[in-house]
Amino acid sequence: MPQIGSFALLLALAMSFYSFFAGGLALARPGAGSERLGETARRAGIATFGAVLLASVILVIAAFQNDYTIAYLLQHSNNDLPAPYKFAVLWSGQEGSLLFWSLLLAAYGLVLRLRYKTDARLFAYASVVIAAVQLFFLLLLNFAAHPFAMVTGNIPPDGNGLNPLLQYPEMVIHPPMLYLGYVGFTIPFAFALGALVMKYPGEKWIHITRRWTMVTWMFLTCGIFLGAHWAYSVLGWGGYWGWDPVENASLMPWLTGTAFLHSVMMQEKRGMLKIWNMWLVFATFWLAILGTFLTRSGIISSVHAFAQSTIGDWFLWFLCLSLAIFVYFFVKNKSHLKSEHKLESLISRESSFVFNNLLFVLACFTVLWGTWFPKISELFQGSKVTVGAPFYNNVAVPVALLLLLLTAVGPLLAWRRTSVESLKRNFLWPALGALAVGVLMVIFGVRPWTDIAYLYALMAAMLGVLVMLTVISEFVRGGRVISEKTGQNLFASMVHLWHRNTRRYGGYVVHFGVAVVIMGILGTPFNRDVEKEMAFGDQMTIGPYTLVCQSYTQDDNPNYGNEWAILNVFRGGKQITTLYPERRVYKASNQPQTIPRIYPTVSEDFLLVKDLYVVYEGKNQDTGRPIIKAHLNPMVPWIWMGWLIMVFGTIVALVPNAVPVRVTAPARVEPATVGAGD
């Protein structure tokens, strides 16, 4: 088995090398035979997918067969590992995850190469770029991080087991989602570089990559939120985002990718920001690779990081080389990227996109700066410093608030020019609504002058409501116009409107989801927690809830042994639920893990939700008594709800328009109403 896997990897390397070399040659020397050569390159690219898929399947089958002659499986699997986690073994370690990365890239490449008829020449360029990236990963797999490396000496009867933190259902889908996002950004980059190299006329490459970029962005969004949800559900510290370098690594390409999704509209509709978009798409790809470099080089310490190895050098070279190639072609062909239109007004959709991009890129810079500052500090003053949550909370939050303000104002601006009067007219009710929420929060006890965190929370709530109300008002206003024309009721008209321009209104739904997420995050300053040693019958009070320890019990299965605390939860003297926080000890690795229990509940002081989050922390080593920690986290369920809304909005935006847009007679276009564009 391992030999077949190794052979499949070598075959994939040969195929991707051929795809890159022959494809490049066919494009560089057009003439007799170049078309056939290009076709063989395309087919070699497709064959690469087959070979990498074979290697991946073999590794998974070997995991199911408990084949510990493969060093990777010895380190990351064990006999009693449940079946779903045997699949997860593929991406749970350094070598396997690189193989998985390569598989996803080959799969994306396969789809691209099968759809080559859309524009054969542009697709051929993109195919060569993808083959080059694929070649790098296959070189790594074959020569630096081989997933089929054999164990020397005695073969143990059982493996070391999968990291307990990864043995959670979400961990089966979180990494694939994240990787689909990281890897997927190679496709828009490949098209962008291809278009730059061949001086592709017009914006067709933007149209071709739009859906790729949106799908990729959706996967990355899902990956990030699934990771946050996993951290919340498993790590047991009551939070979902710790500003760890590896978390930051996923956020950076997301930020530039989001900026690109906005600025690309400027190029599509107005032929502007061509140079900027080119750099943005490159930066997104580059940051995805940089994140991988961070995770795998050991250069920056992180709890998430893979074991340190020499493959960091490989990534560093690849980053430098890709930058050099991109800069070379940019300098050579930048004259091709001139803007077609000029900006007509400062109060316009165009200028809002420019500022929106500035803020996204600035947010990315802030995260990048914070992630690298320990290294910079070590370089300049000889000692490392820690850059943790307090830094990001103080620095990134103001930028996020500014972005939220633009998210609220942007949709109200028309392309080219917006009159101040129409802006005032459309902005008045949402602004009054936001103000009312601010006043209500102060009445209900939020004191923004006592702590900057409360001030941020108040501002985020007001801006979040502002975003929601502007989105709702856009739907209502557009629906009214349709309703007046067709005589349908308002709701049907809004659905009609939605179908007529899925991209724009899908985008608004995403904005709504972002506002809901922000509302969820703003609950953080109001978190409470209590920790107590609890024996049978002991009580603990947090907020309006009283936890009474009913019992402790134990269980055992082949994979792990566990202890449960059985806690009855009372509110107002009435039992509302029973929670079972758990502590496991995995047998293969002998590592403990806590599984908190989360009870979402409606708040007593507002129409808001809170999570009652209970952790069984283990036993006090001195007294032998169990320790229970309870958190009361307001608004957290909003985060997951907002994420689902964001995903829904993206799916809507991906659906083609149902009704073709036709203008048969000159019509008056109301600025900043339905004619504002997306």
Binding site: G242, K342, L343, V354, W369, P390
Partner: protein
């Protein structure tokens, strides 16, 4: 009249001073709040990479001891700076969860805001420059579009308005 205005101003000043003092001393004696504040400004040193009060993994060799030391420091009446300094001396500068606001650490805090300021200035400059860029002069006045040219303009309008 001037006297009344002077007294009024003096009252306002008193109220402002009182408000500042009130907020400055708000919760000054709250040991639990200080414990939480300081505990969230430090990292656990066991290698988990978590904030001291958020490190909860079973069998942690550092966080319990560090929490005990923090409580002891507060019981002794050490102020915040002294407490943090004693932890830095014992565990090194990486025990503090964020760069300091003095020395080289200041660079970490300044840079994002500097980038924001420069970015805004640059963007405003660019936007204004684009706006003020002269449109190409039309030699024969404004031509009336016809036929395919008109279709082109309609297509452009559709793209830009999407309705």
């Amino acid at each position: 009249m001037q006297f009344i205005q002077g007294r009024f101003r003096s009252r306002i000043l008193h109220v402002l001073v009182l408000m500042v003092a009130m907020f400055a001393f708000l919760g000054a004696g709250d040991q639990d709040a200080r414990f939480k504040d300081l505990g969230h400004r430090m990292m656990c040193t066991c290698g988990c990479g978590q904030i001291l009060l958020e490190c909860n993994h079973v069998g942690c060799t550092a966080s319990d001891r560090m929490r005990g030391e923090l409580i002891a420091a507060l019981d002794r009446g050490d102020n915040d700076d002294l407490t943090l300094q004693s932890f830095v001396q014992k565990y090194g500068p990486t025990v503090i969860a964020a760069p300091s606001t003095t020395g080289f650490g200041r660079v970490a805090w300044i840079m994002p805001f500097l980038a924001l300021a420069l970015g805004i200035i640059l963007t405003v400059y660019l936007v204004r420059a684009w706006k003020n860029k002269p449109a190409p002069a039309l030699a024969g006045g404004i031509p009336t579009p016809h036929g395919t040219e008109l279709d082109h303009f309609r297509e452009q309008a559709r793209r830009e308005t999407d309705l």
